[in-house]
């Protein structure tokens, strides 16, 4: 009843968002066993990255601002970490150009992972993420390069940059992307007025949580109107109502991020149960039937 399709069939539509918990295989496996439909790794880069100094996160009135700095063990180490992968794992990749992505895909492609998610949207690290996601030509080249090397589904994760999201999605689609995740965190900042200093060590970070949900809903709505490929909603989902809202806007699945901090790993089962109850009340038999029905 809860299964859904994002170019690969999942047992339910709740995914662990990239950047959350996904640094070690034992933890990813535990999140899957706790109820997630699939899990997504942290953004993996060619070389290991230590990330930024603390503080890397600060809570605000309606969300969190984080600048972790893409801490990850690097692609070669991570490939070993997940060599015995037996869960639906999507590996998120971050890099600066098509050569870097090509190298990473060659190292990972023989592993039992179900898809790649390409980070075109991290808003707080130079020369990667949103900085390349704002460049349509580069986005096209990177997706095309990965397409030429792999048969696995390619998901592009988009954010709010200075380019038009629909245009970036279109070139990604032209390059061979199979699905779109929207949205990443939004560039933001928080200053403590007592000590008159920004709280995050990187000063600027990405805003997540309830504050960005209406924006993410709008993005999913517009993307799903413009494209026939699956859209994965992300941004401020904390309960089943939020998840349903994304599905009605056009999402085939949703990603849970910062809310994990509040509800911990039970959140996946809680949201899935809530979706199921809603479907029973409304008479829906599949997630498919609900995707995008709010559109007109």
């Amino acid at each position: 009843m809860l299964s859904t399709d994002i170019c690969v069939r999942l047992r339910n539509p709740t995914l662990l968002a990239s950047g959350i918990l996904g640094i070690s295989y034992p933890v990813l496996k535990r999140v899957y066993e706790a109820g997630a439909g699939a899990v997504i790794s942290k953004s993996i880069s060619i070389e290991a990255r230590e990330g930024y100094k603390n503080p890397i996160i600060v809570k605000t009135e309606h969300g969190w601002i984080n600048a972790v700095g893409l801490a990850n063990p690097g692609v070669e180490y991570f490939a070993k970490e997940i060599e015995n992968c037996d869960i639906p794992l999507i590996v998120n990749l971050v890099g600066s150009n098509e050569e870097e992505f090509g190298k990473m895909v060659k190292i990972l492609d023989n592993l039992k992972i179900i898809a790649y998610e390409i980070n075109f949207s991290c808003p707080h690290v130079e020369k990667v993420g949103l900085e390349i996601g704002d460049d349509p030509e580069l986005v096209y080249k990177i997706v095309k390069k990965i397409r030429s090397l792999s048969k696995k589904p390619i998901i592009v994760k988009l954010g709010l940059g200075s380019s038009n999201m629909i245009e970036i999605a279109r070139v990604a689609n032209d390059g061979g992307a199979d699905a779109i995740t929207a949205i990443n965190t939004i560039r933001a900042m928080c200053i403590d007025i007592d000590v008159a200093k920004p709280i995050l060590s990187n000063r600027i970070g990405g805003l997540s949580g309830a504050a960005i949900k209406p924006i993410a809903i709008r993005c999913v709505y517009e993307l799903s109107k413009a494209f026939d490929i699956p859209i994965i909603g992300c941004g401020g989902i904390k309960d089943w109502r939020d998840a349903i809202e994304f599905i009605l806007a056009g999402a085939s699945a949703v990603q849970i991020g910062s809310a994990v901090s509040e509800r911990w790993l039970d959140i996946f089962n809680e949201i899935n149960n809530g979706i199921m109850q809603y479907m029973l009340r409304k008479g829906y038999k599949s997630i498919d039937e609900m995707i995008g029905i709010a559109r007109y």
Partner: protein, 260 residues
Amino acid sequence: MRIVEIEDVIDESPTIRTLIFNDKITANAKAGQFIMVWLPSIDELPMSVMIPYKYDEKLYAAISVRKRGISSTYLYSRKKGDKIGVRGPYGRAFEIKSERSLLVGGGTGLVPLIRLAKQNRCHTLIMGARSKDEVIFEQLARSMVDRVIVTTDDGSYGLKGFATDPLEELLKEERFDIIYTCGPEKMMKRVLEIANRYGIEAEASLERIMKCGIGLCSSCALDKYILCKDGPVMKGSIILGLEEFGKCYRDKSGQLKSTI
């Protein structure tokens, strides 16, 4: 983030100081819980919550810091009137049992045990230090715990040897219902193994690299557990089954590094 002012500073040893501040929320922390301490423009450090000595426990809390790296030395050097940021308390605390308890701690690992002894009557505390200079909280401990045993590695004070030496001796003679421990991982591993051998329940407060403190970044992963959520206090029976405990830790990038 709450900005608090340091109201008192106590020298515990040549390298350890306790900083006392007024913060009702931290004052409510259970023994074993930690807070994240923000040093504006410098760093943010996870710190176990200490008791505030003579200050009102309902309003005040404290942290005890050893100067080691740049950030901890900066925190150690804060003076009365300086401001720091705090968030939390976070994490799983010691489970309080009203039975005959035995505490084994070393170094600043004694902090959560002192808080535990304040919140709940504890029978015996074994505290280990490298040398006489490094013995901390002794008078405080004697005022709260029925029996305090001090060991030093070099024998310059108390019994010569490690905290685990008198532990074995005590367990041969006496019955305890639970053992709580916090300190260097090597010491905790020995304590848990001994507790296990004598069939006594145990809890240990563990440490890994802590960044977000709220279960998002997984810097503090230990096997499949996330210490800021599942810990820092975990049950001995679980800890002894972990592959990484006592052997390795994840560095800032997430790579496993050997501690042996």
